[in-house]
């Protein structure tokens, strides 16, 4: 019979521990923290930047080409646009293009790479051929050709173009991973149990590829942001919107280089680099999780060196001792 009055005390009794359970040391990866903080700051800048500034990015009533000062934090362009406002608005476009293109690329690489690796046979042959074709056809020239054929381009369309042209490399890696996962016991088990292929891929294979997929998504975002900047610099980016690439395009056309207006062309490129750097740092951390050798090897080397040093110190001490004895 259960009775709350008698049961209550038992909860106070500490469970007897037969052996000491040590919590696994949680390893906080410094690279991840730095990358994540940088990325959050940039995203915050994109969200809050346009709200903080009092200038419209297309307001040309300001003085022309002035260096950064108290009112115009990053100076103005040759058309009198406020650079801070331009940079913040551009951040939204560039990040949006990057994320959308990265997502498209990851989805396509799963569709081709994972399916090819898992299904095998003729499907694999055909899909691998498609991957091979996309891998060989050079990405940027292809995007240039496509963009030049489409007259009015929205940011979304540019993102789609970049996504469609940039997934093949990831698909190759995913295919070989899926091939090796296919022969694992638990995957065979669920296949033999009669699960349909979509479920096996979705439930058994994809979760195991998650770290890899995250890394490839981040890589896809970097690739797309760089690609968008390049396209926009050539004047083939999203028409009518402001992005980091279009600022660079205007800076080049407006003679920022020859007129010494460093505040016009330096910030957009730095922002692209910072986004890339933060994503790459996060990617580094993920790499070390996937490939334990990258993490353990330096640690081992360090331990070995420490042991050698200690040994040397011991030997030295022993020698000194010997000398002392000899002297006495």
């Amino acid at each position: 019979m259960s009775n709350p009055a008698t049961e209550a005390p038992t909860q106070d009794v500490e469970p007897v521990q037969t052996h000491k359970v040590t919590k696994p040391k949680r390893h906080v990866n410094g690279k991840f923290v730095i990358g994540a903080v940088m990325l959050s700051l940039i995203i915050l800048f994109a969200i809050l930047g346009p709200m903080i500034t009092q200038f419209d990015p297309r307001d040309s009533d300001n003085p022309v080409l002035i260096p950064p000062d108290a009112t115009h934090w990053l100076g103005t362009t040759s058309l009198g646009y406020d650079m801070f406002s331009q940079l913040a608005t551009g951040a939204r476009t560039s990040l949006m293009v990057g994320v959308v293109a990265g997502l498209i690329a990851v989805v396509l690489s799963i569709m081709f790479g994972v399916v090819a690796g898992y299904v095998g046979g003729v499907t694999d042959e055909v899909l691998t051929l498609i991957i091979g074709v996309m891998l060989v056809i050079p990405g940027l020239p292809l995007t240039i050709v496509i963009s030049s054929l489409v007259p009015g381009r929205s940011g979304l369309l540019v993102a789609v173009i970049l996504g469609i042209t940039g997934w093949a490399g990831a698909a190759v890696v995913l295919r070989s991973q899926a091939q090796s996962l296919r022969n694992r016991d638990y995957v065979s088990a669920s296949r033999i149990a009669g699960e349909n292929p979509f479920r096996v891929i979705g439930v058994e294979i994809l979760p195991n590829l998650l770290p890899l997929l995250t890394g490839q998504f981040l890589f896809g975002v970097i690739f797309a942001i760089l690609g968008e900047a390049g396209l926009s610099y050539l004047g083939l980016g999203p028409t009518g919107s402001i992005s980091w690439g279009t600022i660079l395009n205007e800076a080049q056309a407006g003679g920022a280089l020859t007129r010494g207006a460093w505040w016009w062309f330096v910030p957009p490129g730095l922002m692209v680099a910072l986004v890339g750097c933060s994503l790459a740092l996060i990617n580094f951390a993920i790499d070390e999780v996937i490939n334990p050798k990258l993490r353990s090897a330096p640690l081992e080397a360090r331990r070995l060196r420490k042991a050698k040093k200690e040994r040397r110190a011991e030997k030295k001490a022993a020698k000194v001792e010997l000398k002392k004895e000899a002297a006495s």
Binding site: Y233, A297, E300, A301
Partner: protein, 329 residues
């Protein structure tokens, strides 16, 4: 032999797909791009008969069937006819490409080799020195990789050509001294002088990738048993590093190098535009800006072809140096 045959099939199909893509892309676009284009071009001035011809050739002649156009397209390709350029009328596209190709291959090719050598050397060293302060320097190379390379070019021009006039701002050679390429020491000197900044741009933006890839492979390889064995045998450190670890760690980088050589022609389109370097990239952008579609298609085809050839050669060499690749067909 089976390996070679199989690769050949893949490349043949890729070639066919690339050429067909080049043919179908303009025809697949939604709406009526041909008339939009003609409208756009007539706004900027008169549309010449040559331009109309080029547009018809690109988007399809409404009078002929698609299949017939496709066959004609192949026939022209096989006779080496890529059409006539509109922006440099009446120069044939092949001639324009032929004169731009050496510039790209020379500049980007040499710069890629330099970058690869530096990157592999530094990667070998940082991998060998794993677990020391060097580990903390390695992540900073990602900053180099994340820099938009054309922006690096702009910054270099700003500092070294505008602020301090040490290097020329644009061009592949001094156009005031020479009327065109010629064989003389002065001309070669001028070319080298003009190539320094573009080459530095390429090295800065690509060296990080080589370094990182090599470093990671080196760290993995150093954990292999045969390296431990070599250490246990008491071999010289230098020998272990170069002949045992680096030799094996380099394999993926060599494959990457082959691919990179393929992208020599079309990989630095934007950089060539920043420097107005007379290579393939600039030719492509000129074609895009002038709506010169025959030239654009020709350039794209050449870029794809180079990648294909480079990848094929890499594949063959890789099969020779790494027997595992031959097994894994």
């Amino acid at each position: 032999m089976r390996y070679v045959g199989r690769r050949l099939v893949i490349y043949a199909v890729t070639l066919w797909a690339a050429i067909s893509l080049n043919f179908f892309l303009p025809r697949m676009l939604p709406g009526d791009p041909a008339s939009i284009l003609i409208a756009k071009m007539s706004r900027n001035g008169d549309v010449t008969e040559a331009q109309l011809e080029s547009i018809r050739r690109l988007f399809g002649n409404p009078e002929a069937s698609l299949w017939q156009q496709y066959l004609d397209y192949w026939e022209q390709l096989f006779s080496g006819d890529l059409g006539t350029s509109v922006s440099f009328y009446p120069t044939p596209v092949t001639e324009l490409i032929g004169s731009a190709l050496p510039w790209s291959i020379g500049l980007v090719g040499v710069a890629t080799i330099i970058s690869f050598t530096i990157g592999i050397g530094a990667g070998m060293f940082t991998g060998w020195k794993r677990g020391t302060w060097v580990d903390h320097v390695v992540p900073s190379t990602t900053l180099l990789q994340s820099l938009p390379y054309f922006w690096v070019a702009m910054v270099l021009i700003y500092f070294f050509s505008v602020q301090n006039q040490w290097f020329p701002i644009i061009g592949g050679y001094n156009v005031f001294m020479f009327n065109g390429p010629e064989w003389s020491w002065e001309f070669v000197g001028s070319v080298l002088y003009h190539a320094i900044l573009p080459a530095i741009t390429i090295v800065i933006s690509s060296v990080g990738g080589w370094l990182l890839g090599m470093r990671n492979m080196m760290v993995s390889t150093m954990g292999e048993d045969y390296v431990t064995t070599a250490e246990a045998k008491g071999l010289k450190k230098r020998r272990i590093m170069t002949t045992y670890a680096a030799r094996n760690a380099m394999l993926p980088s060599i494959a990457g190098f082959g691919v990179a050589l393929g992208f020599v022609v079309g990989g630095f389109v934007v950089m060539e535009t920043v420097f107005s370097y007379p290579g393939i990239g600039k030719l492509m952008i000129t074609a895009v800006r002038a709506n010169d579609y025959a030239l654009m298609q020709g350039v794209f085809l050449v870029i794809t072809l180079t990648v294909l050839v480079a990848m094929f050669i890499t594949d063959m060499i890789y099969g020779l140096i790494d027997p595992r690749a031959r097994q894994n067909v």
